[in-house]
Structures are given as C-alpha cells and as structure tokens.
Subunit: 490 residues, 2 copies
C-alpha cells in the first residue's frame, strides 16, 4: 500500500522531467490542462462523492459543494493564467534619465519553481486534498506536483489521483506532471528530495512544524507553506449583544458545528458580555439540538478531539455550558469561562479543539477587549460582531496583527475562492504569513521572479516582448497596462 | 562599544511601540519621512563620503554614486507608496452569481510586519548598510527597523544612524522607529526577540546560514531574507567570441575588478572557447594593468579572499593565467581551467573568491554549454555573451533555473533600482528566492496580506474604501484600476 522509496524517487524524477517539458508552455495550453482536470472531476462527481461519503462521514451536500468549489477553482485559475496575472510581468525600458543614473532595459517575470510536494488534509477531501488549492495553484504556476495522500480518505484520493493523471494525459500534458504517494516514509522522502522545490501542507501544528523544520534543515532549504492550527476568535461587542444576541448565538452555533467542527476556520472562542448564563445556555442548547450529527473524520482525529476537550474542560475556571456527549457521532459541547480566567491562564486561548466544541469567554461590561485580543496567538481568522457606528479601530488593529482574515458580522467558516481572499495568518496559523492557500494569489507561492537585463528582443521570453504575444497584463515603465497592450518605449 | 543586552531589549521594545504608532499613517506622511532621510543624507554627503573613504578604502567617486543611489531609492520608494503599489489592494464586491456560490464582499490589503532586524553588509557602506535597500524597504512598508551595524565601517554607520534618527524625529516620526545596534550578541538577540518579525541580511553564506537556522528554530519562526554567496557565471558563445573577443575580455576585466572584486554580483566564472591561452592572458594582463588598486575592505575579508584564492589556485587542473600579487592593494588574479576539469570537479564552480580574482573555464568548440551550466548552484546573476540570432533557449533556461537575473551582452555588476529589478536567486545566492533586495518589489518582503470579509463601509481601512481616499492603484472585481479611481460595485 505504502509507496516504496524507489517509487517515490522515480515519481519525483519523472515529475521534474515533466516540469522541464511543461514550464514554458503558453498559458492557453496550461489552461487547457486545468480545464481537462475540472471536466474530469465534474464528469465523475457521483462516483467521487460516493467514495467521500464512505470514507469521511461528511454528507453528500457538503461533498458536492466542495467538489464544485474545487472545479470552479481550476477554472478561475485558468482565467488568471490566461490574463498572465501570475506572471507579474514588468517592463522597464532603458532610460538615460533615470534618477540614479542611466538604467538598462530590465524586464521581470515570474517562473515556476519545479516539483512541489503537496500534503492532503483529512478534513477537506476535495478542497484541500488531491486536487485541492495547493495542487491547483502549483499546476497553474507551471510546477509539477507529487501529492502525499491523506489516508483518511485513501480510496477517494487514489481514485481522484487516477482521474487527474488520465485527464492530464488526454489533454497532452507530459507524463509525471502529477502523481501521488502514500505513507510517512514517502512523505519524508518528498520533503528531503533535492528536486523538490516547495511544500504545500495543511494539517496539525505538531506535524506541520516537524516538516517545516525538516524543510529548513535541508542543505538547500525550501519554502514550506504550512497551514497549521487556528482557533478563530469571535468578539461580540456590548452593543451588538444588546441588539441581536439571539441571532449571534444562532450564527455561532451553526458555524462552530459546520462539518462537525472540523474546519480550520471553526470559531473556537466567543468573547461575549454574557450576564444571564442560564439563558444563553438554553438558547445555545436549542440551536444545537437541530444540528445533524456524524462521526468525526477518523478515529485518530476523534482521539485528539477528546483529549483537547478534556484538557480545556478540566482547566480551572472552565464550566460546561452545553453538555455534549461522547457518542460515536458526538453532540456538540460548549464550555464557558471568564475574561478574568483567561487573563490569568492565556494558554486557555491556545488549545484548538478540532471537532464540535467551543469555548465561551464571558466578559463584564466595560472590559477592554483589546487586552483580551492581545492574548491571542496567530490565527487564520478573527471575527467581530459589532455595530457599524462603533469605534472599534483599536480592537480591529490588534486582531489584524494576529490574523489573516478579519470577518465583520459574519462567520469565518466558508472560504470563497476569489482575487482578494487571504487564507493564512501569523504562526502558528501558518508557517508563511505572507502567503495564502486560498484564492488566486495562492498561485504566486510556487513561482519566483527572474529579471532579464539588457536583452536582445529576439532572446526575450514571450511574456516580456514588447509586442505582448500572450496578451497579458503588465506594468510598463511604472504604469499598469490591461491585458493585450503592447509595451512601447517612451 | 557593543550594545548591551538591556539596550537591545529597550531598542526593540521602543521600535515596536513606534511601529504601533506608525503602522497606519497615510502614505503622504510616511513618504515625508523617507524624503526627510533622503534630504539629510544629501545634505551631509561630504561628511559621510569622507568617513566612508577612511574606513573602506573605496574611492570617493564610487562612494558618492552609492550615496546618490541610496537617496534615489528612498524617493522612488516614496513614489511607490504614494501610488499604493506596495499595498496590493484588491476589492471583490459581493457577488450572488460567483461561480462556486455567492461570494461575500472581500477586500485585501498588505499590512506591515512590525519590527525588522536589518544586517548591514561590509561591501556597500551606503547601499546595503544603515540606510540601504533593506532599511528603506522596511520603512516604506510601514515597519520599524533595528539595524545591526557592520563594524567594517563603524564610524560611518554610527554617523549615518544618528542622521537618520534625527531626520525622522524632525519629520515627526515616532521615536524608536529606527535605531542601530553593534556587536554579535546584539545581533543574536535581535534575531531571537519575540517582537522581531523579519530579518534582512546581506553577508557570507556561512554567517547567513547560521542566522537563517536561528530564525527558523524560534518558537515562532520568522522570515529571513538573506543574500548570501554568488559566483555569477558568464557564458561566452563561440559566435560572440569570434565577433568580439577583445571587447568581452575588456568588459570582463572591468566588471570583476569593480570595487576590487568585492561585489556580490562580481563575475567569478567565465566560460569561453579559448584556443590561444597566451593571447588571452596577454589581453587580460593589459586590461588589468590600468585598473586602480586599493586594499580590501577589511583584514578579515582579506584573509578569506586569500584562503579562497589559494584553494582554487591549488586545485588540480587549475593554472594561473594572470598572476596577481599579495600586496596590501592586491593586483587582480585570473585563474584558468578547462571544461573537462570542472565536469570532473564541479566544486570548482562553488568557491566564491570575494576580491579581485576570477576563474576562466576554457571549453572546446562544440561543447554543450547547458551541461556546464547544469553544474552551477543558485546565483544572483548569470550572463550570456551571445549573438542575437543564436538559438540559446536551452542555455538560457538552465541559467534561469539557477539565477535571479539573466544578463545579455552586458555585465552583472551595477544593479539599478527599478520596478523590474530582481536581486535574488536560488540558494545559496539567497535564502528566499521569491523575493528581491533591490528594486521596488523589495518593499513587499516586509508586509503580509489581510482580508476584510463582509465589512461595513464605516469600518474599512482607507485603502479599501470604495471612494479610494488615498487615491491608490487597486484591483477591483478582477480589473486593475489606475491610481485614484473609485471602486464602484457592478
């Protein structure tokens, strides 16, 4: 079952050879490869969703949406590369009058890195797995991908990988541009291999940090784009609580139980000015009763969830507000504590409970929310439930320093794939806070810029020629030009 | 002389406090700080250049140009931040018809990282030192800087730091936004401090790698932008050699001896189809005779140069083509070997000789230059001397994979500060090949994106408001807009 060291070696070498054939194809061709994969996923949706249901306990509706999202992502990335957005092409014509002295003709374009190792996550069997965001962005960038399968959905992953390989082959992509491996030994070999040029990872903080350290220790270190742990705090202002407490509790209950609480953006902390604890408990209880239940993704994950829940539940000053249970499909748990307790034990805010549980932190009227926010570690998201006219600059700034996405009067679960999306954040949320693993900017992680200095026009790559044969968007002599424009020297 | 641990701690804490005050000022204000520094450097140019002459053995003309470049850089960065280029602002209005399902209103902007530690280099007392590219880009990004002074030009560095602090103060910048430290202990404390959010470094591969490892090992790892070693190969095609051999040798002699060979972009390897070795030796000898000589930057650097030169000179198959000397101001040395010898000992291509020495690699007609290029490690630059009509795609691609800047029929020394410039490259040239330490793109190293999800207009930061109060350039609903345009929802 596990990929042998020889197989891993062969796959990485084949991926590198495929990368060498594929790195300079024109955007139309690379775009057709992405489209071929998208079409194959769509055509086989029933089978894939069925496999997902068997292996993950996630329901069909959710899995269908996730597949749709993955397909959409491939097509959005296709349109980005047709416009050349990922290339970041810049042309500075030679300028005798340049302020520091004559400048030569300088042109810059992003090139792909090479073979990328992508680690699948357990909790998104499509969106962060075989053909998820990391694979899609690496292929869009012009890289080859060797995917480390998450064994939580092994059959689905193997089937998806086979479909991707077949789709790429029929679209004319070089063999080996995508392949998959299984097993821990294969994973480590992938991180260590000299031909591997970057890693995309989504998973636990402990596992991610170990692989990050491994990537840094290499003779030639490589970038490790790891999405690790996040607890996703929500701050409710007193005004918002007064105006719409019930709606907030209802939204919160829905968000932290979505996917049985197994989202990296699950809101795990709610700071609210609760006075009547019983009433809030009753409201949450009622909201939670209607949620459908399912077993967690895997026994290992369940074990981790139980341990984390026990740890928080047994901490000093923590009470059970809504008692869940420990059935195979566990009912959600809401724990509660106070602002004073977390000020005394900030580590209460650092324990992710990956599953259907969350911690409510009651604060007294007049409490300085920025002080509480200042206790937080790096997060993928931070949410504020407030009123538009409130003066919340300080709180928003403290949260901005600690997160990659600020959410206003909405909920952090559900991450749209768009141009502006940022799915990342300071450590330990990720190991590379200046990058995103969702949205079109994700493509740039797998590229690096190269400047062409004083080049003869005949020797320039297409993206940098004055006549713009690829019709891409560029910056010319400091001015941004829409797609398709020629670059005329002044 | 050396900064004490208490002083370092105080300076970092003060820098963080200054960052907190400065992070959200409008571009006009931050731009005025950069301008104040530029004006102060200009106003004190004579004194600074004089100090530089005393401490570095670099000549006045060179130092004046380097200072002019640093001043220009500050003003170029000012114009970049006025246009908001560094903010990468993107606005995606809510869209019910978005392909993967309704998308919320999502807006993205880059925010500064916090306190940045910048390590000065010995060889550019202005351009890569106290007020060099790393400091300028970190300040432009909105960060605070604690600068680790290079003791090779201590008095110049202390004086420059004092001028920068004074200029910032008179321009109204918060105290502590910039300060300088001295000594190895201070350097390590700077890399380790929890409030330090990134490091900019220019220096040796050994020293840089040790600090990179240190930055990665932190409980919260931080990005380490290190520019380390580069040997900057030059490939001369047979056609170019036939057409203009003498001009190539002349340009080469000038480039590898510029600044006494103490440039990170010094061409250290020349691959050329030499047949008559004596004639080439005579031509180089003649070119080199006219070069002015100076002692190297420091005794320590001289020691390293002598050791590296000895190592290459004594390797098997290496001859002395032009014999330098070991005077205090050493005459340049040209060593020579053959393609066969480097194929047998590729490590010959990995020994940087930081000073006035270089290695010529003779190849026979018909030799596969891509095979030789394939032996190279990561480089800042790679140069081809060829003829425009030659078919050189394979060679250029192999060199592109190994470098950050490709130079065509010109020389790698001299790095203009422009929009398209890329001064970086695969390890060991740098520890972060996807970034640059020269050019306007350098600013982005010290920022990270944050998304604003579903925000009330009243709560958005200025850069992301529909009415565009900062008049910056943005991408709105996928379309790039020039500076100053409003973002109207469709």
């Amino acid at each position: 079952m596990h990929t042998t060291p020889e197989q891993v070696e062969n796959q990485i070498v084949a991926a590198h050879a495929a990368y060498e054939q594929a790195r300079d194809v024109e955007p139309q061709v690379r775009g057709s490869w992405l489209e071929a994969i998208a079409a194959a996923l769509e055509a086989n949706a029933d089978e894939l969703v069925g496999l997902g249901e068997q292996e993950t306990h996630l329901d069909q509706g959710r899995l269908r949406f996730e597949l749709k999202r993955s397909v959409f992502q491939l097509r959005l990335f296709r349109s980005e590369i047709l416009a050349g957005e990922h290339l970041g092409a810049i042309i500075d014509h030679a300028d005798q009058d340049w302020g520091m002295g004559p400048r030569p003709d300088l042109r810059r374009v992003n090139v792909p890195l090479g073979v990328v190792g992508v680690f699948g996550a357990s909790n998104f069997p499509f969106a962060f797995s075989v053909m998820g965001g990391d694979t899609a962005s690496a292929l869009a960038a012009g890289c080859a991908v060797v995917h480390k399968i998450h064994e939580g959905h092994l059959q689905l992953a193997l089937r998806t990988a086979a479909l991707v390989e077949k789709a790429l082959a029929s679209a004319g992509a070089p063999q080996g541009l995508f392949s998959a491996v299984v097993g821990r030994q294969a994973a480590e070999a992938l991180v260590d291999h000299p031909l591997t040029k970057a890693i995309g990872f989504t998973g636990s903080t402990a596992g991610g940090r170990a692989l990050f350290d491994r990537a840094c220790r290499r003779p030639t270190p490589i970038p490790f784009y790891g999405e690790l742990g996040s607890i996703n705090p929500v701050f409710v202002t007193e005004q918002a609580w007064d105006v719409r407490r019930d709606a907030i509790l209802s939204g919160y209950a829905a968000s932290f139980t979505a996917g049985m609480g197994q989202f990296c953006t699950k809101p795990g902390l709610l700071f609210a000015p609760v006075e009547d604890t019983d009433e809030v408990a009753a409201l949450l209880q009622q909201e939670l009763e209607s949620k459908s239940l399912a077993p967690l993704l895997s026994p290992k994950l369940r074990e981790g969830f139980d341990a984390a829940l026990d740890k928080v539940r047994s901490a000093e000053g923590v009470d059970v507000l809504v008692k869940g249970d420990d059935a195979e499909a566990p009912r959600p748990t809401v724990l509660a504590t106070t602002a004073e307790a977390v000020l005394a034990q900030p580590e209460l805010l650092e324990q992710e409970m990956f599953g259907p549980a969350t911690l409510l932190i009651r604060y007294r009227p007049g409490t300085d929310l920025t002080e509480l926010a200042g206790l937080l570690e790096g997060q993928l998201t931070a949410t504020v439930q407030g009123e538009p006219e409130e003066k919340l600059d300080d709180l928003l700034t403290v949260l901005r320093e600690r997160s990659g996405r600020l959410v206003w009067n909405a909920w952090p679960t559900g991450v749209s794939v768009t141009y502006a999306q940022q799915h990342g954040g300071p450590y330990p949320a990720t190991t590379a806070a200046s990058t995103t693993s969702v949205g079109t900017a994700a493509i740039g992680r797998f590229m690096r810029p190269v400047a062409y200095d004083s080049f003869a026009p005949e020797q320039l790559p297409p993206a940098l020629r004055d006549n713009n044969p690829w019709n891409i968007t560029r910056r010319v002599d400091g001015i941004h030009q829409p797609a398709g424009q020629k670059a005329e020297a002044r």
